[in-house]
């Protein structure tokens, strides 16, 4: 029985499966961080301390140094000497600002980040004049006052509630795909007949077919947890995180095995599996009690429902152990 596990594992490494999967993981991680970076850059430019050096012309009520009359301001805008025109008019003490920005998403996004900061400061100054309190909440680290970059929470949630669950799910999906492939390959190429003619029982063959993807994905899971830690992402509880992640894999591998053994055909089993996996993805990354989310939460050191986590893990491994009985691979 160990021989089959060894053979399957050896094949995985020889066919660069391991390399491609690591590549895949690094890529998923890399790309997702770029996407967040991109989104943050667009929505919270101050997170990166990036205000750009936009030039604006102010007309009407003057509140900065660069003030012009309306006509000149528009001409400066037209000739491209300023990136935006702010026309300020006063109505009962409230300043109405018409912001004119270029009809070009790229420039507009850059200049709007700057204008937002400019006008928020102006608003705070006016509030103090009118006796409207501004929010004075200082943040200290030790005895030192610090500035919290806005967007920190978004990044944090992204890493622990999206990236880690996704890595966990990717590992599980890949392991299940491998199970389906290796079961169907034996059936479709009829090498199962050869295996069955050896002293191995169908049960042992089935067990070894689910064992190799499990070993493989344990390695991969340990690897990405380590890579995250190397990238200065704190993994507060590595062992529970690993355990829950492996339970997800166990669940997926059992599902893949059962589909493959029942359908006895790679094409249909893979299609069925991917439809179900894709459909459950939204639930798996959005729910408090989703095991994939639990992996991220426990890694972040946040509370999880341990009862549900334990029930899920036990049930997954029970299903894995039972799967050779649910779907038997025997003679074609």
């Amino acid at each position: 029985m160990l021989e089959i596990v060894k053979k399957d594992l050896k094949l995985m490494f020889r066919e660069r499966t391991f390399v491609s999967i690591v590549f895949l993981m690094v890529f998923v991680a890399g790309i997702s961080s770029i996407v967040t970076f991109g989104l943050i850059m667009l929505y919270n430019p101050d997170y990166l301390g990036f205000y750009g050096s936009s030039k604006v012309a102010v007309a009407g009520e003057c509140f900065t140094e660069r003030c012009y009359d309306e006509k000149t301001a528009m001409e400066l805008f037209k000739s491209g000497k300023v990136d935006a025109v702010l026309i300020v008019s006063d109505l009962n003490g409230i300043k109405y600002v018409d912001v004119i920005v270029p009809d070009d998403e790229i420039k507009a996004a850059q200049v709007l980040g700057y204008i937002k900061k400019l006008l928020t400061d102006y608003e705070e100054r006016l509030r103090s004049v009118y006796g409207v309190p501004n929010l004075e909440m200082k943040v200290y680290s030790g005895s030192k006052e610090i500035e919290i970059p806005s967007g920190s929470s978004t990044v944090f949630k992204f890493i622990y509630l999206i990236l880690i669950p996704l890595l966990s799910i990717t590992t599980a999906v890949v392991a299940a795909g491998m199970t389906i492939d290796s079961v169907c390959e034996e059936i479709q190429s009829r090498s199962i007949e050869v295996l069955l003619s050896t002293p191995l029982t169908p049960f042992k063959i089935s067990i070894s077919k689910v064992a190799s993807p499990m070993i493989f994905s344990s390695l991969v899971t340990a690897l990405w947890l380590m890579l995250l830690a190397l990238n200065k992402v704190d993994i507060v509880n590595p062992l529970p995180a690993f355990a829950i992640s492996i339970s997800i894999t166990a669940f997926f591998v059992s599902a893949g095995y059962i589909m493959a053994a029942k359908l006895r055909d790679r094409e249909r089993a893979q299609l069925l599996f991917s439809i179900l996996a894709a459909g459950s993805l939204p639930l798996m990354v959005t729910k408090y009690n989703s095991p994939a989310v639990m992996v991220g939460r426990i890694a972040a050191g946040a509370e999880i429902d341990f009862v549900i986590a334990t029930i899920f893990s036990v049930a997954s491994f029970a299903l894995l152990a039972a799967s050779p009985f649910i779907g038997k691979i025997d003679r074609v």
Binding site: G30, G38, I87, R127, F156, D234, I275
Partner: protein, 531 residues
């Protein structure tokens, strides 16, 4: 071709008939309801993720004896950990919102002494006549502020608001309208694309399943050696196109359905390049992989790469002009009703089609037992190159066309080096560019490592590169691509190509290694000189 297509439909029909079809319909139904359930129930994955010493009226906070942050005497105390800082950010955001509600109820209007209305205007379209126009009715003006897309009308609006508000009646009118159109400055948001991204995914997702069924079926036929039997009865192109046709049609129909649903009928056209590239890349992968296992992984990697290549630029469409390279960016712009430039359309579609065409061409050449069942992927690539490129002119043309692949690979390199520390970015970038370019040139030259082939390859590649620069595509990155010089890169390409040809006898890897080292050293030297 139609015969093969019919055969394929019959084959799939048998496989997915009866019980299997029911099973799949059932699975789709479950999937759809699961997705729907997740939309209905919303996101609660962040419930109680942070902790504080006091009760915070926020879903994301719990109380804890070992909290992420401590609130004391109106001050927030944090530790220097990501979680603690993130918690503080979340709390501050909440406090700002609460503060805003409080001052709004207490001070009403005066809570927001600054109100903003944003007008998007094309500077070149502003005319002075418009500005001198006497103020019209403010009602009309305010309407245009809130709804108009037209530059001219908004100009009138912008100007008349500021000049025409002298009478009390007008003031009243204006304030009323301003409630809707003027926002506090903290609410300013740059144009958002996320919703439209979801839309774009709707177009492509069904095609993914069609592509998966196609590649599974092709892999099966290849591994069970049915392709060889079929080849004795029909031509290579008929075989591949015939097998692809039914699935391609299915993808098109699904995209068309989404287009009709979204009421912009032509939108599905933008998906075609992506889908065709997906089909041809998967065909190629099936041809060069030996087993199901290998195929599964390579297929996964390839689909991921193409998805990223198509979608990531769309995320950045507000930030970098380069994003127009993706048909998805253009699709989103089209749905949004923006005008599209013919040059952008041509460039983005054509380079996808070139890649698809080349992959299909190579796949046909790869339909041979040596390649199908050989060992090393690298040697398979060299073998395919040998079969495809039979003359120096062909080498020139392929080198020229392969610039699309180089471009794609280099875009990935840009994305990948992004996550590195700042001081490593430029060297990593230069090395990856050297690897990509020399690898592509090398594969072409190995088809027959002669000096003339090397020169033709270098020329073709150089020409392709210059054409890209002509499109102003790489302007922003010209430092990295060293695009501003003409003669030097030409010499570089020829020198490295020649070295590949000369060294090929000593082993392909050594030859590539040397060329990459030369290329990287050259790039590094030039960047250092420039900097």
């Amino acid at each position: 071709m139609l015969k093969v297509a019919k055969f394929e439909i019959r084959k799939s029909g048998k496989r997915y008939g009866g019980v299997s079809l029911l099973l799949i319909v059932f699975a789709v139904a479950i999937s759809v309801s699961m997705s729907y359930a997740s939309i209905l129930t919303g996101i609660d994955s962040d419930r109680g993720i942070y902790s504080a010493n006091i009760e915070v009226n926020l879903e994301t906070f719990t109380t804890s004896s070992n909290p992420d942050l401590v609130v004391l005497d109106g001050k927030i105390f944090v530790e220097q950990s990501d979680k603690s800082l993130a918690a503080a950010d979340e709390l501050l955001k909440y406090l700002k919102e609460e503060h805003r509600k409080r001052i709004e109820s207490e001070f009403g209007e005066m809570a927001h002494p600054v109100r903003v209305s944003i007008l998007y205007l094309e500077p070149s379209k502003i005319t002075t006549e418009e500005k001198e126009k006497p103020p019209g009715t403010d009602e009309k003006v305010s309407e245009t502020v809130s709804t108009s897309d037209s530059a001219l009308e908004t100009t009138t609006a912008a100007i008349t608001i500021t000049t025409g508000t002298t009478t009390a009646a007008a003031e009243e009118n204006l304030t009323q309208e301003q409630e809707n159109t003027y926002i506090p400055p903290e609410d300013i948001k740059p144009p958002s694309l996320v919703d439209r991204m979801v839309l774009a995914f709707l177009f492509v997702i069904p095609s993914y399943f069609a592509v998966q069924v196609f590649s599974s079926s092709l892999t099966e036929d290849k591994i069970l050696r049915r392709l060889e039997v079929l080849l004795s009865a029909t031509g290579r192109s008929d075989l591949i196109f015939g097998k692809m046709f039914p699935y391609f049609l299915l993808s098109l129909l699904s995209a068309l359905a989404v287009s009709i649903y979204l009421n912009s009928i032509l939108a599905f056209l933008f998906v075609i390049p992506v889908v065709i590239l997906m089909f041809s890349a998967q065909t190629f992968v099936v041809m060069i992989s030996r087993s199901y296992r290998e195929a599964t992984f390579l297929l996964l990697v390839v689909s991921l790469l193409i998805t990223i290549y198509a979608f990531i630029p769309a995320v950045f469409s507000t930030a970098i002009p380069l994003s127009k390279i993706s048909p998805i960016t253009l699709l989103l712009a089209y749905i949004h009703g923006e005008e599209l430039a013919v040059a952008d359309l041509a460039l983005s579609f054509v380079h996808y089609f070139i890649m698809a065409f080349m992959l299909l061409y190579f796949s046909m050449k790869a339909l041979n037992p040596d390649i199908s069942y050989g060992r090393e992927i690298f040697h398979k690539l060299v073998e395919i190159s040998r079969l495809s490129i039979r003359s120096d002119y062909a080498a020139f043309i392929f080198a020229f066309l392969s610039i699309s692949f180089a471009f794609m690979a280099e875009l990935f390199a840009i994305l990948a080096v992004f996550i590195l520390p700042r001081q490593m970015m430029i060297p990593a970038m230069l090395i990856s560019i050297a690897v990509v370019e020399e690898f592509i040139k090398g594969i072409i030259i190995f088809s027959s490592p002669t000096l003339s082939r090397a020169v033709f390859t270098a020329l073709g590649f150089f020409l392709g590169e210059k054409i890209l620069i002509l499109f102003n595509l790489l302007q922003e990155y010209s430092i990295a691509f060293l695009g501003q010089f003409l003669v030097l890169p030409l010499i570089l390409h020829i020198v490295t190509a020649l070295s590949i040809a000369l060294m090929a006898k000593k082993g392909y890897r050594k030859a590539l290694g040397l060329a990459i080292a030369l290329h990287a050293a050259y790039d590094y030297a030039v960047v250092m000189l420039l900097a």
